[in-house]
Amino acid sequence: MTMAHQHAAAAKTQRPSLTKTQNWPGRLVVYGAVALIGLALAFAPFLFPDVRSQEVAARICVFIVLVASYDLLIGYTGIVSFAHTMFFGLGAYGTAMALKTMGPGFEAILLGGGAGVVAALLLALLIGLLSLRVKAIFFAMVTLSAASVMMVLASQLSDFTGGEDGITYSIPKLFSPATELLTDADGKALRVFGVALNGKLALYYFVFLSALALFLTMTRIVASPLGSVLKAIRENEMRAEAIGYRVVFYRTTIFCIAAIMAASAGILRAVWLKYTGPEVVLSFDIMIDILLMVVIGGMGTMLGAVIGVALMTLAQYYLKDLMALGAEATANLPVVPDLLNPERWLLWLGLGFILLVYFFPSGIAGTLMGKGGSK
């Protein structure tokens, strides 16, 4: 008993904000990393002008929205869903089908994408109301089967969806590389730091700024009163109900919000790629990527989504190249070049994940900031 009192007395002198100041070096690292990634994405067309880097940067932007919206479910509320790619796909297919049938205009993106978002919302509402009352494992199974049905539909209704081949289409002329945003004296696209101000640039910033707006909206949501209730539900559902929060209402609401966000990310993906198919928006490989990214970044942190997506996407795209360089550099040594053979990149990626999970049990952001399950 005296121990408890001493403890309380000690805490008194250290107030305020014990928990917040405790982890300040970790917090600084996380904020720094996120700021760095944000800046790199903001200036990506000028920093990394080649085509492949552009693709990587745009993919990171879209996946940050997708993974952060998944974090709203799994990290903040404790809902395990496997239907996130289904919502992602609805946004993408809606946009793709409208662009294909109506032609390349912004009204097609608005209408098709809007229809995709509304479909995602309604489907989320239906699944949520019907099954968020049941145990977590059953809910996970329901979402899994819904996602499977959606994949079958996408490949079977090939008249509308293009089946396994998907849909290829054009996007608004503003986003075409041939479009000059600003022209110089010769009538060619003006160059800034050697980068032409053309439609491709406009397209990148359309994706980047939309993703930024969606991400900031989500950070706002988790800091809101609703966000605080979500954390309460994650921590102790029964108690949240007992102090007066209708748990089913809150769960359904966040499931719908996450679906809208995922579908919006789908729109961005469809516009960027000019192609939509099961492989790029619906497959379970993507669902697994989302899960890995949210776990590596740190569940229930939002910023973890940025770190997890950036790290994993970079690894997926550049680990092979890096290993090829390493193998070349060590060509004269025994064994090492064989280990670094680019064909073994998945082995190293897997090893990397295991080490990350071992040293950062709550994900990178979660462990560094002292949030989540690090007890």
Partner: protein, 256 residues
Amino acid sequence: MTTKPSIRTENLTIRFGGHAAVNNVTCAFHPGELTVIVGPNGAGKTTWFNLVSGQLRPSEGRVVLGERDITALSPSGRARAGIGRAFQLTTLFPKLSVFENVRLAVQARAGQGHRLFIKAAKLPGLADKAMHFLEQTNLASVADLPAAALPHGDQRKLEVAMLLAMEPDIFMFDEPTAGMSVDEAPVILDLIARIKEDKARTVLLVEHKMDVVRALADRIVVLHNGELVTDGEPAEVMALDLVREIYLGVGADEVA
């Protein structure tokens, strides 16, 4: 009693399989009154509490709050209707701060939980109110610690702080001082005594410790094997041979 009952149960029964854990319990409680529910382990006290606060649904009977039949209401619906409950086994939000635990209860009471586009920390008055309840329970100094980091006694106090923060009409305490040290318990008992000074409030208390019962009770209800055995003034009830028998059966030291 001239006032109308604030809450009553009518023929309340719940069966698990063939066993009636609470059997046909009818009783009414009035504002300004503190009733202690006693009975040996397994008498159905906590089960009866669960039926009143909504964690369990009865097999038969009704729960009536004022004039309103709330038998079909969910726990959250009952909380919003004015029934507040502190739990026997501590059930907090373990990883959230002590302050956030209480703030959530204040926010629920204010009906602000659904709001999306304002910062929770900026909701006017909520933080001050939460701090007020933490000060009342001597927890202000540990407000920023995660709830799970508190010693057991402080966790019990936090339970009580959350119940106070709900500002209910009906206060339900399930052994609030269980596991508390001798010099911590009086803080809580003092708080409970103060709650009943407000004559609009009804307090229900499940308690084992006889000194607590003597100090606080206006009335005692005795449950045994799921049935209501006696209901009356403390002096009357404690004098009954039946009650002594029930208690002597479990532990003579508790009666003394």
